[in-house]
Point group: C2
């Protein structure tokens, strides 16, 4: 088998953990597999580099940030190669340029366009374990790019797709995908299986176990994906097209505190105004999530939306500069919000789910500011201070539900 493994930053944070991972990699090879490994930067390396950059230039260009940050993963792969060699194995480290991981030009949030497989295949043929820097690529200018935080998952899945690997294992510090964040909700249960679509919703809603785009790529190329712990031999959670297990009404709860709300108030009630606002955000590469448009009165209306907290400054600046053109009377924002979401393929056919969700919030005394729904998820924007309590309340509510309201 050809197996792609990905280990996160905490799994390689120090020399002892590097050796633990090295042993796991060697054991995988010893079972007769070809092994390609994607690594993140060690522990807090990336945070340290960001702090260094902020000290020098809080508005550092994204190009230079990428040039700086990609060094973290390169250090990881070189050190891991040394550890594997020290244990008698044969390994070679490669960065994104050496592999040929081509991305779009967008610094700090690039997307993979193409992965060249020749170099990796050559190294595998020579019996080497191949260690590849996660999170990064090279654009058409020959410059370094990064895939956004958590992008190493995407690197791993994209490599698995490009190499036509039999399995992609994402190693993390939890044992798999849980029904809710186990650090907050004590009763959270590990799932043995989850579908791509459910995982996609969970990931996009802030469940940090898998990077959102990695699930999209896995679904698109039908990559067999397993999330498991680097600290144990537990089997983890398999992410796949169809789940054999009984369908749960709600398979998971996710919270995301990295969110801010912007309200563009008193916009003239004319066609195209919403388009102008979101076109402006797109130009600034700001991803917009929940959108709420008020009913107009006196010929004016309010348009509110949520964005990632890191984009708040950029978004506010762009809106203020274009306030007149957008006919806005005021640009307001709120940083003290969070998103709480429930996900489940069984949801679409059970109209009672939303009501139960709202009831759980009411019981917990949590105010709902915005609502967004899709086929398989419901997201609420609530005050950030209430997020942990709300998460526990929802989990309790649907744990009961999942016993009472199973399909089949």
């Amino acid at each position: 088998m050809l197996i792609v493994q990905k280990y996160g930053g905490s799994s390689v944070a120090n020399a002892e953990r590097v050796f633990n991972v090295a042993k796991r990699i060697l054991a995988t090879q010893k079972e007769g597999n070809d092994v390609v490994v994607v690594l993140s930067a060690q522990g807090k390396t990336t945070d340290g580099l960001i702090a260094k950059a902020k000290e020098i230039n809080p508005k550092a260009s994204r190009r230079e940030m990428d040039m700086l940050l990609v060094t973290g993963e390169q250090q990881s792969v070189a050190l891991m190669a040394m550890a594997i060699n020290a244990l008698g194995g044969r390994a070679v480290s490669l960065n994104a340029v050496q592999v040929g991981i081509e991305t779009t030009n967008t610094y700090s949030n690039a997307r993979i366009r193409k992965i060249h497989s020749e170099r990796i295949e050559n190294e595998l043929e020579q019996g080497n374990i191949v260690l590849v820097t996660g999170f990064q690529g090279v654009n058409m200018l020959g410059d370094m790019t990064t895939l956004g935080r958590g992008g190493s998952d995407t690197s791993a899945v994209a490599l698995a797709a490009a190499l036509n690997a039999d399995l992609c294992e994402i190693y993390t510090d939890v044992e798999g995908v849980y029904t809710a964040d186990p650090r907050v909700v004590k009763d959270a249960r590990k799932l043995d299986e989850i579908s791509y679509d459910e995982m996609l919703e969970l990931a996009s809603l802030g469940a940090k176990v898998l990077h959102c785009r990695s699930v999209e790529v896995a679904k698109k190329y039908n990559v067999k994906l397993v999330v498991r712990s680097s600290m144990s031999d537990a089997p983890g959670t398999e992410v796949k097209e169809e789940c054999k297990m009984e369908r749960m009404l709600v398979s998971g709860v996710a919270a995301d505190k990295n969110v801010s709300r912007i309200s563009v108030l008193g916009v003239k009630d004319e066609p195209g105004k919403a388009f102008e606002i979101f076109d402006l955000m797109a130009r600034e590469k700001v991803s917009v999530d929940i959108i709420l448009q008020s009913n107009g009165h006196d010929g004016r209306q309010d348009i509110s939306f949520t964005i990632g907290q890191e984009d708040l400054d950029i978004a506010l600046k762009a809106l203020e500069e274009n306030k007149e053109r957008l006919t806005a009377q005021e640009i307001a924002h709120d940083e003290n919000v969070a998103k709480l979401s429930i996900v489940g393929a069984g949801m679409a056919t059970n109209p009672g789910v939303a009501a139960m969700f709202f009831e759980a919030m009411y019981d917990a005394g949590v105010n709902i500011e915005m609502i967004s729904t899709s086929e398989i998820k419901i997201t609420l924007l609530i005050p950030r201070k209430d997020i942990d309590e709300a998460m526990i309340a929802v989990h309790d509510k649907f744990k009961i539900a999942s016993v009472n309201m199973r399909k089949d």
Copy 2:
């Protein structure tokens, strides 16, 4: 003018120093120059990375060491770009792959084969200051290489040659080239000028102010080279083909503690044995310095030579493995030695210089173990514990000499 500047690790060790250098670079550009800057890794970054590697694998492969170490310079150039941008300037950072600094395949001690100038020229045309990672290149396999410690000097001079720059300034933490190490010898004087040949001897003998190969490249391509301080505006030392100043008998004294002696004892006195030993060292990429071959007796002879301390393990291992073929009776070594050298273009025509050198050693009570001479230098191998005292004695001796024995 097109100016290439190089700043060492201590000049960019923290945010404050990075800004100092950024201001100097901007001032150089403001005077109407195109500026290309070569940077080393910040402060103790490289040492820190080496320590990390040693913890994991004391015998780490040179390829993986290079992969690890090149990240230090990449961080430096990215941070400097951010600093220049913060001050309102325009800068772009480039690593060796982006520039196209092609080297030989030898990891950890590669030589530059070719530098592509297109990318840098394009960036300069757009008004950018171009920041280039020192110390590194890319080989024919597309893998990262390093040029050996201090290789950033060579990067700067080679870039100056490739770009046909008008001037190459090497910024360091001393004010220029001194007659001896000013930290050891209080009376050491700064030289205003020095010839390539004298600088070359000084550099190869352990004067750390310039990397040896950088001087070779400067001489070969006739690069106008200035060594000066990043902390002051003093004019520094100019390194050039011919010095206008009066020729000093001895222009400098240099000490090198990074040296070990190996003795191959009792080798059969047959033709080709010396060749076999040094061919073996060359295969292991070990540079041999002073060589001493004893007069044979009983059909056997001893061959001693000095090497850099970092190569001792490799050299001993290779010699032990080939002991039988080399017909050696014993392989001995001594780590407690150091090299002391005097350099001066005036030396060749003054037979009294060597005698004065030996006299200084005799007066200081220092034992001489080996002697090596060239047209413009004399090197002695002495006990390491005596090196500072010996250096002061020699400097005192020739300071007097330089008054008494000047050649017009």
